[in-house]
């Protein structure tokens, strides 16, 4: 009877699946029970109740306000915003610079091509941690003290305590002003799109862009006056051993940003370059036969086609950049990984902390996957 069971194709498949799922689940349950026992032995309560308790550890810099009396929940929020902030900056910078790098690597100019190739090989073959620590050491040791600050631009000071620059302080009814700014940006963008379309369709277009700019200027002026807004430059001033006032970028932030941008640009540049290379040579030839310049061919013909090859690996590059921000732990920039690590140190709530960390990144990667599937479906229907 067992033989009939074992050799039956379908039954064997079901039995093996049930066994596999059973083994996996029982393994998980065993780990879970052990964890509960160990946590109980250390007097740590499982669960997310600790979220409401005050964090009591400092966070050296944050985009949103934070004090050590704020709750753990708020601390996590701060870390998350920091992570997203630096990830966004690096993504934008690396993409733009990557495009330039790709063009440099494809150029016929031997010096340009050689520099680009060398840069790419060096940046891609050295671990990111080493590069970050290298930049951090440069920024914290080799930059001068506040008294001998470097001043590349007037009123901007580069020292080993960070980069200090003037901050624009507005007072009054500034919410009106922000609405006016939003409206202006929308108006001008719309004007650009509409004018371009009109020019292609009708041959000539009314000067939408100029009109929108005048209207925006008027809106902003109106908001300024009605809101009674006044502006003041808060300039950093040397007091004692440091600068006071103005805005500052810490050495941790600077080194993380510079290191990540330099590292990611090399990879992004290669993705863009292979995308451009993937477009058939016949496209270039057809464009030249039609009398277009190389720049116009790239812009109008080759680049739009290369997007199809560029976007999938590029989105996984963006995910990589976001994951790489966790290396902020090595230089001390307070991103989400840092907040989680500190929280675990203080409260012992290891399971909850790591769960939060993994959930954050899984959500980001899930969002990117969904976008990728949508994009793939869209281009495969063309």
């Amino acid at each position: 009877m067992f033989k009939a069971f074992w050799f039956n194709r379908r039954l064997r498949s079901y039995a093996l699946q049930v066994l596999l799922v059973g083994a996996f689940l029982s393994g998980c349950i065993w780990l879970f029970i052990n964890a509960q026992q160990n946590l109980a032995a250390r007097g740590i309560t499982a669960g997310f109740q600790f979220f409401g308790q005050p964090a009591r550890f400092p966070i050296s810099e944050s985009v949103i306000d934070y004090t050590p009396e704020d709750s753990f929940g708020h601390a996590f929020k701060v870390g998350l915003v920091n992570t997203l902030f630096i990830a966004s900056i690096v993504i934008v910078a690396a993409t733009v610079l990557g495009l330039g790098l790709a063009l440099a690597r494809r150029s016929a100019h031997p010096l340009l091509k050689g520099c680009a190739s060398t840069y790419i090989e060096v940046a891609r073959n050295i671990p990111l941690v080493v590069q970050l620590l290298f930049w951090y050491s440069l920024v914290t040791i080799n930059l001068p003290t506040a008294r001998e600050a470097l001043t590349p631009i007037p009123q901007v000071f580069l020292t080993l305590r960070g980069l200090f620059f003037p901050k624009l302080e507005l007072s009054g009814e500034i919410s009106l002003l922000w609405w006016a700014v939003l409206a202006s940006i929308t108006l001008v963008t719309l004007a650009f799109i509409v004018q371009k379309r009109e020019r292609i369709v009708e041959g000539k277009a009314p000067p939408f862009i100029r009109i929108s700019m005048i209207v925006s200027g008027g809106l902003l002026l109106l908001a300024w006056l009605v809101g009674g807004v006044s502006a003041r430059w808060d300039v950093p001033k040397l007091e004692g051993f440091n600068f006071v006032g103005g805005s500052a970028l810490t050495p941790e932030f600077l080194s993380l940003m510079v290191g990540l941008v330099i590292y990611s640009t090399a990879f992004d540049g290669e993705v863009i370059r292979s995308g451009i290379d993937s477009v058939a040579k016949g496209q270039w030839e057809a464009g030249e036969a039609l009398g277009l310049s190389k720049g116009k061919i790239l812009q109008l013909i080759v680049f739009p086609q290369s997007l199809r090859v560029i976007i999938p690996p590029m989105t996984s590059q963006y995910l990589s950049i976001t994951k790489n921000t966790t290396l902020a732990l090595a230089v001390g920039y307070p991103d989400i990984a840092f907040v989680v690590a500190t929280t675990i140190n203080q409260t012992g709530q290891a399971v909850e902390g790591i769960l939060i960390l993994m959930t954050v990144f899984l959500s980001i990667s899930l969002a990117i996957s969904i976008f990728m599937n949508w994009y793939n479906r869209r281009i495969s229907s063309i």
């Binding site: 009939a4 050799f7 039956n8 194709r9 379908r10 039954l11 064997r12």
Partner: protein
């Protein structure tokens, strides 16, 4: 009919691909030593039919019996049937990372557990049979299409099957190589091998087959001896098909 003389027996066999009814109530019996050619327009289900015989595709209704073994959910039935049948594919499906000799000795060594030296003797015997013993140590990529297909035939023969299945063996070959493969198949038939062959080569059907089966839209439309089939087709669809290809 006495079961011991039946090589293949299909009763009411059905197959669906999703909602597409690929095989509809197939009834066919192939006797031992018989040579059957299956022909028909594309999409008629002839490849599906032959792939159901050795369980590369699973039939979904009716019965299929090969050499007295009924093909059902029992894994052992599938294994036994595959040991009795050998298959030659349209695209050869030789293993590109192995030499011709290794292609032929792989299954005997690993399935039948024959010693390597003995397996190589068997392989060389069949390679001589298909007239390419000198290429034994070459890789498939170095041979022409006709030579590769003959290697595929030898590879199947090395397992000593009692039934040989051919799935459009010459459709992917350049015209000048079709003859060498058909000649090999004809000499196999001359030795008394039971053969089921899906092909468009009507000359082969006329000279070698014992019966010709015409399929259209998943059904067997007509079965007859080659003489009767080609000179006096009885169904309209058979006539229409023959008009197009002859």
């Amino acid at each position: 009919m006495d079961v011991s003389t039946q090589a293949i027996q299909m009763k009411g066999m059905e197959k669906w691909y999703g909602s597409y009814h690929a095989l509809r109530g197939i009834n066919l019996e192939v006797s031992r030593g018989e040579r059957v050619v299956v022909c028909g327009p594309s999409g008629s289900g002839k490849s599906t039919l032959i792939q159901c015989i050795n369980a590369l595709e699973r039939h979904e209704g009716g019965n299929l019996t090969v050499n007295g073994v009924e093909l059902n959910n029992d894994i052992r039935s599938v294994e036994e049937i595959r040991r009795e049948t050998g298959m030659v594919f349209q695209h050869f499906n030789l293993f590109p990372h192995l030499t011709v000799l290794e292609n032929c000795t792989l299954a005997p060594i690993w399935v039948k557990r024959i010693r390597r030296a003995e397996a190589e003797d068997i392989a060389m015997h069949y390679l001589k049979r298909v007239k390419i013993p000198e290429h034994a140590n070459k890789y498939p990529g170095q041979l022409s299409g006709g030579q590769q297909q003959r290697v595929a035939i030898a590879r199947a023969l090395c397992m000593n099957p009692s039934i040989m299945l051919f799935d459009e063996p010459t459709s992917a070959l350049d015209p000048e190589m079709v003859k060498e493969v058909l000649d090999t198949m004809a000499s196999l038939a001359g030795d008394g091998m039971t053969m089921v062959c899906v092909t468009h080569e009507m000359g082969f059907a006329r000279h070698v087959a014992d019966r010709v089966v015409f399929m259209d839209e998943g059904q067997i439309v007509e079965i007859n001896t080659p003489d009767q089939f080609f000179s006096r087709p009885q169904h309209d669809r058979t006539r229409a098909f023959l008009e197009k290809i002859l």
